[in-house]
Amino acid sequence: MPNEYEAFVRNIERTLSGFPVVLTLRDLTPGKKKYRALHVRAVVSNPPKAGEPVLWLRSVVGVKYPRPYSVRILDELTEAFTAVPYSDLFEAMERLERSQ
């Protein structure tokens, strides 16, 4: 189980709401598979909780938020979301949140 991830978010308040959100996590474990993506439904904790993997958040242009958070993965989701190509990824993730 990786102990450090990062995720890119458009709306950080939504991500930090304490409710389950859909995220694309990038595994930061050093080695050949670093940055592997996985889709999850998860709860992000602020401040980070002991025992949970560390989560770093970045904006849509990759600017890193300075404080670490932590993430509790509830479910692992499919490797790609069902949606029309070129459509908005964040809207697709929010649709999935609402349907669960």
Partner: protein, 474 residues
């Protein structure tokens, strides 16, 4: 002679002093491309790293194949110090002499074949290019092949692709690109996956052709033949009826999914910025990988003065010149400086004025609006001399009446950094033409006279000064 493949190109640039080979270990996670980025910004040689952390000596990585005019000259089989205007002239000449490709039954790029169910993209030394990118970019200096199922037209293009997991890639060929249009027009409506092949480390003319600004429906394989002055050899893919350059070091075969998305980007692209287009890409599943034994992985460390800005500088400028000629603009020369990151074109005209500037502006934004600034200068300004262009712009462009702006929607360049996120989503934007020409209605006798050496002295005085220049110790 034009180098026939990547390996002969490496030998040629090593001989010309334009390649550094490094045997010490380098980390694929940022360190590798930090070297490459600095090399671009310093116009330094290309770099071949032989020892990559986690991958050892299995996969050497070659950075920035043609990020300088010197390396482009070598790729054309010319002396490395060939002047830029001469490179433009030779490119334009070869572009007119298309040479059809020929197919071959087998090729070195088939020496190792990995079927889809055995593919693991993390076995490739795909680098993390910039800190804060959305992931590791496999496609930076690639050649992506796709086919129009209705006409059979085959498109070659350079499009970015990011590793998502072991078999999935995400990418951002813009929706207005040839590949994007082909996918949206012919595959998505039928819910069909579109086969593609991503070829890496091909002969340089093939990459130049793929990256070139070329007409819709044009055959880039023929263009590659013309640029390389010999037919390009093509070999069939393992899992589709697409044909790839036989010279490739590595080929990733995939199908773009008509009903799936995943995170793509953000990524630091040729404009020199990482813009906010994350979340509007495509998703492709790998169906096979083939490669040479001891393959060489190639990366364009994108950003200011990268390979694509050099290629577009030359092919884009020639395409602009031809388009303006076709639409009646009295164009004399065009330069797209690499420092302008493909957002700026300098156009010299035989007759200037507002009407000409406006016509150039409308012509160059009619279909895809990749440029955001066009500087129009008189014919006596050398477009390749940026000091002369800046002088003309600063002094001749009337700030109240000399700036022409057109706004558009649905065809803007979504990578243009100054656009807002809302403009990016709507693909709306604007282009300005800066008219730095004298109004044609001004009588000759009142046009300001340049106070320069070439304009302010009689020819005999100029000759005498030039003749005595060195003798006087100047």
């Amino acid at each position: 002679m034009v180098p026939k493949d990547l390996r002969s190109f490496l030998k040629a640039i090593e001989a010309s002093g334009d390649l550094i080979t490094v045997d010490q270990e380098v980390d694929w996670d940022l360190e590798l491309c930090a070297f490459g980025r600095l090399a671009c910004e310093r116009d330094a040689p290309a770099i071949l790293f032989r020892n990559i952390k986690d991958y050892g000596l299995d996969w050497p990585v070659f950075l920035n194949p043609i990020a300088t005019w010197r390396r482009l000259a070598v790729a054309f089989g010319l002396p490395p110090d060939t002047p830029v205007p001469e490179l433009y002239r030779i490119y334009a000449e070869r572009e007119q002499n298309l040479i059809p490709p020929k197919t071959v039954a087998d090729a070195p790029c088939k020496e190792v074949r990995i079927p889809g169910d055995k593919v693991d993209l993390f076995e490739l030394p795909t680098p993390m290019v910039h800190e804060g990118d959305g992931g590791r970019y496999l496609g930076t200096w690639d050649l992506v092949i796709s086919k129009d199922p209705t006409t059979g037209w085959v498109n070659w293009g350079i499009y970015r692709f990011m590793v998502h997991n072991e078999r999935l890639l995400t990418g951002f060929p813009r929706p207005t690109s040839h590949l994007g249009k082909m996918f949206l027009d012919h595959y998505v409506p039928k819910h069909q996956a579109m086969p593609i092949a991503i070829a890496i480390g091909c002969d340089l003319p093939s990459h130049l052709a793929a990256a070139a600004t070329f007409k819709l429906g044009g055959n880039e394989a023929e263009l590659a033949g013309g640029l390389g002055e010999r037919p390009v050899e093509l070999v069939k893919c393992e899992t589709s009826d697409l044909y790839i350059p036989a010279s490739a070091e590595l080929v990733v075969e995939a199908e773009v999914l008509p009903d799936r998305i995943a995170q793509e980007g953000p990524y630091g692209e040729y404009p020199g910025y990482r813009t906010g287009e994350i979340g509007h890409g495509i998703c492709a599943r790998v169906t096979a990988i083939t490669h040479r034994r001891e393959p060489i992985f190639t990366v364009d460390v994108t950003g200011l003065k990268d390979c694509s800005s050099i290629v577009t500088s030359i092919s884009g400028a020639i395409a602009i010149q031809r388009r303006l000629e076709k639409h009646g603009v009295p164009v004399a020369a065009v330069y797209v400086p690499p420092e302008g990151a493909v957002h700026l074109a300098i156009v010299s005209v035989r007759r200037g004025g507002a009407e000409v500037a406006e016509r150039a502006l409308q012509t160059l934004t009619a279909r895809r609006a990749l440029l955001s600034k066009i500087v129009v200068v008189d014919e006596d300004v050398d477009v390749f001399n940026l000091a002369a262009v800046l002088h003309a712009f600063s002094t001749k462009c009337h700030p109240g009446t000399g700036i022409h702006v057109t706004h558009y929607e649905g065809r803007a360049n979504t990578l243009t950094p100054c656009y807002s996120q809302a403009e990016r989503v709507a693909r709306s934007g604007a282009t300005a033409a800066f008219d730095a020409t004298w109004p044609p209605e001004w009588p000759r006798e009142i046009i300001p006279v340049r106070a320069t050496f070439d304009s302010s002295y009689p020819a005999d005085i100029q000759q005498r000064v030039l003749g005595r220049w060195k003798a006087l110790g100047l």
